[in-house]
């Protein structure tokens, strides 16, 4: 069987898509040599002489002179091995040939721009294939790898949806999306069961701040991580029997999972350290604060008449008393430096005040409380508490306290067992001021009574001093004129 080769009209590198046969230089039946010119083909304005890639007998010529053929179509068929040798053809002609190679194309308006440097535009080469290359990429993306999610996974639009619907992503036990991520469906389902998270709603109402509003660092520290705008009071919804639990205080509800981070993390660290490393001892004295209580309205009126928009609460007066008591019993305003083996009795009193916020317990302190009046203490307490709640308290305000006062009476408690705010050595708990039967001037009377409960570091303070401190507190507060006397 003869070996017949097809010579397809080549892409001559001119961006050629078709060519017109101008002249055949061979005829069917001719025995031709390798590189022998078979035809002159017109591309745009110039003519290209096309040499044969095969030596052999011409079997077929496809196309007449004047006919246009597409690149890639067969235009000559040659039976190889028939006749002429395949190699070393026509070297003499080649050597003598000094005319320039013909067929270089010019550029005209009708032709494609010649590429000069390569095959040119290969339209036919843009084959389509079956789609699916992206699958390999998925495998590489690590989509298959479920990371140990310590935070809820969700793509950004889902996070927004969750915020808008007030759903806490952390509350959704497992997402049904890739990598365990939470989907729109998961969020909508969670929302439909009536779970409203207090935590997320705050962020939902706050728009991201414009960059121009970002404050300069030198001016003041901005602790945006504590952002939590004044939030709506948690909606109390009554749950029907058998339904999922509804949110309780501050929107918390059974089944939710809180990630330990930020403030909570710090609280945990501090509480563990305090209880573990400081031997706490307690002593308490009850006090009749009836007279103190009576003062508050007058003092408030005074303050406001002087132009200060603040309430003078019994707590403010108690703070003033605390300062006096600390001066008298300085071991309670101290620092124990274990490494240096020293106990420093501190001169300034930076009075810490426990503030209850939605994000947790925060304890700012009033600097140099010993130098401040009752009014000032009252004002600063209010200011600091507000800052803690809106997240704008500075690091300076949050550190450096020397003694703390904890007013759990605000919650209605009669007693407490406060934990010392390390590295301080004492914390004074103040109970609710409650009307009680009391012995007053020898008779049973209804008086307003509170308990002062001191927790102290028994390494640094002895019971003698601590006990007397708390008794002195009671004394001062029972007779407020003493506060005036010793101020």
């Amino acid at each position: 069987m003869a070996d017949i080769k097809d010579f397809k009209l080549p892409d001559l590198g001119e961006g050629l898509e078709e060519g017109e046969i101008v002249e055949w230089h061979i005829a069917v039946g001719d025995v031709i040599e390798l590189n022998q010119t078979v035809a002159s083909v017109e591309t745009a304005k110039a003519v290209v002489d096309v040499p044969s890639p095969y030596a052999g007998k011409v079997v077929e010529l496809v196309g007449d002179v004047g006919e246009t053929l597409e690149v890639g179509t067969v235009f000559v068929r040659i039976e190889v091995g028939a006749g002429a040798s395949s190699g070393g053809a026509d070297s003499q002609t080649a050597l003598d040939e000094s005319a320039p190679g013909s067929g270089s194309t010019g550029l005209d308006a009708d032709s494609e721009p010649q590429p000069l440097v390569g095959y040119g535009n290969r339209e036919g080469g843009g084959r389509r294939r079956r789609r699916g290359g992206a699958e390999a990429q998925d495998a590489e993306l690590g989509n298959g790898q479920i990371t140990q999610a310590t935070t809820p996974l969700a793509k950004p639009p889902v996070r927004k949806l969750a915020k808008d619907l007030g759903v806490d992503l952390a509350s959704i036990a497992s997402g049904s999306g890739p990598e365990g991520s939470i989907t729109r469906g998961d969020v909508r389902k969670a929302a439909a069961t009536g779970i409203v998270a207090g935590q997320m709603s705050a962020a939902a109402t706050a728009a991201p701040p414009a960059p121009a509003a970002a404050p300069k660092r030198e001016a003041r520290g901005v602790v945006k991580s504590l952002v939590g705008a004044a939030e709506p009071a948690p909606r109390l919804v009554a749950a029907a029997a058998g339904e999922k639990p509804v949110p309780g205080f501050r929107g918390r509800y059974p089944g939710e999972v809180e990630q330990v981070r930020g403030i909570r993390k710090r609280i945990i660290e501090k509480m563990e350290h305090s209880r573990r490393d400081i031997p706490h001892a307690l002593c308490a004295t009850d006090a009749d604060l009836t007279d103190l209580w009576a003062l508050r309205k007058d003092l408030t009126a005074q303050a406001q008449a002087d132009g200060f928009d603040v309430k003078i609460t019994p707590f403010a007066l108690i703070m003033r008393a605390t300062v006096l008591a600390l001066r008298r019993f300085p071991t309670l305003n101290a620092r124990y430096d274990q490494q240096a083996n020293e106990i420093h009795l501190l001169e300034p009193i930076h009075l810490g005040v426990a503030v209850d916020t939605d994000r947790g317990l925060i304890v700012p302190n009033i600097k140099d409380a010993h130098a401040k009046s009752t009014l000032q203490l009252a004002i600063e307490t209010v200011e600091l508490a507000a800052k803690c709640r809106d997240g704008s308290a500075t690091p300076a305000e949050l550190t450096g306290g020397t003694f703390t006062v904890d007013n759990y009476g605000f919650f209605g408690n009669d007693d407490g067992n406060p934990i010392i705010n390390a590295p301080e050595v004492g914390i004074l708990g103040i109970s609710a001021i409650r009307e009680r039967p009391w012995v007053h001037q020898g008779e049973i009377a209804v008086r307003r009574v509170a308990r002062f409960q001191l927790a102290f570091d028994h390494r640094v303070c002895d019971g003698g001093e601590a006990g007397r401190f708390v008794t002195y507190m009671a004394e001062l507060c029972e007779s407020p004129t003493k506060i005036l006397l010793h101020s």
């Binding site: 993306l141 969700a154 950004p156 990598e179 991520s181 991201p208 602790v223 952002v227 949050l398």
Partner: protein
Amino acid sequence: MAVTMAQAINKALGDAMQEDDRILIFGEDVGKLGGVFRITDKLQETFGEARVYDTPLAESGIVGTAIGLAMYGYRPVPEIQFDGFSYPAFEQIVSHMAKMRNRSRGRIKLPITLRIPYGGGIGAVEHHSESPEAYWAHTAGLKVMTPGNVADAYSMMREAIAMDDPVIFLEPKRRYWMKADVELPVKTEPTHKAVVAREGTDATVIAYGPMVKTALEAAEAGNEEGLSIEVVDMRSLSPIDTDTIVGSVKRTGRAIVVHEAAQTLGIGSEVAARIQELAFYHLEAPVLRATGFDTPYPPAMIEEYWLPSVDRILDLVEKTMDY
């Protein structure tokens, strides 16, 4: 023992030259003068003019002859005096240095370490404060690395010189005088790895070269305000250690990339693209970039307002916390 980054690089060059005869150091003013930043100080004295020599003022020539020398069998460590003057050598770098191994199908290797001091913050006149790293990192065939601290400067330089691939070694010139207590020689992480320079939980700040120090300062300042910032020092711009970077962002959920170079099409764009591709479900906020502006580098008196600062970084960190 306190050592500056300049001294660390100088020692790395000397130690390398001691161990391998085939290493050559050349460039403008590197010989007698010891380099305009003294990085090649006393090397000519120690190793002779044959191995440490001054070239004519011709950056393309410096890199082109380095290629010829590397083909011959040497290990050239040429210097381009300043970032802004690397451009005359651009063609030799991207058309030849980066491509020769590939186009020779693996037969030719060019173990060249091209040293280029870069970055601003030194109050310089024009063209001496550029950050061209994106051009090199975008060019396949080059390795691009930049130390952010003294120990890395030594270790990464030693590793770069020992590599058989062409390296663009970008030296953060504003940190040349940064001091640290390091015993040299020292070996730090392999150069292709990024390193968590400081751990944190709220956000990841990703930086390289001169901005690593700034990023660490921002993290320290942020800490005072209750922000727990993790800092990743990229170290390698080509390759980029995606695993370390993405791993960090998966933990914190927030990323801010910092570089002096202009924002558009800077390294930050690539890092952001990879993060959003690989940590999509972990993101609490979009990836933000604290960078220079899309303008030519400013005059010396204005550069402090133009370059990323501790405040610019923290503002963006806070922005991510707001989402």
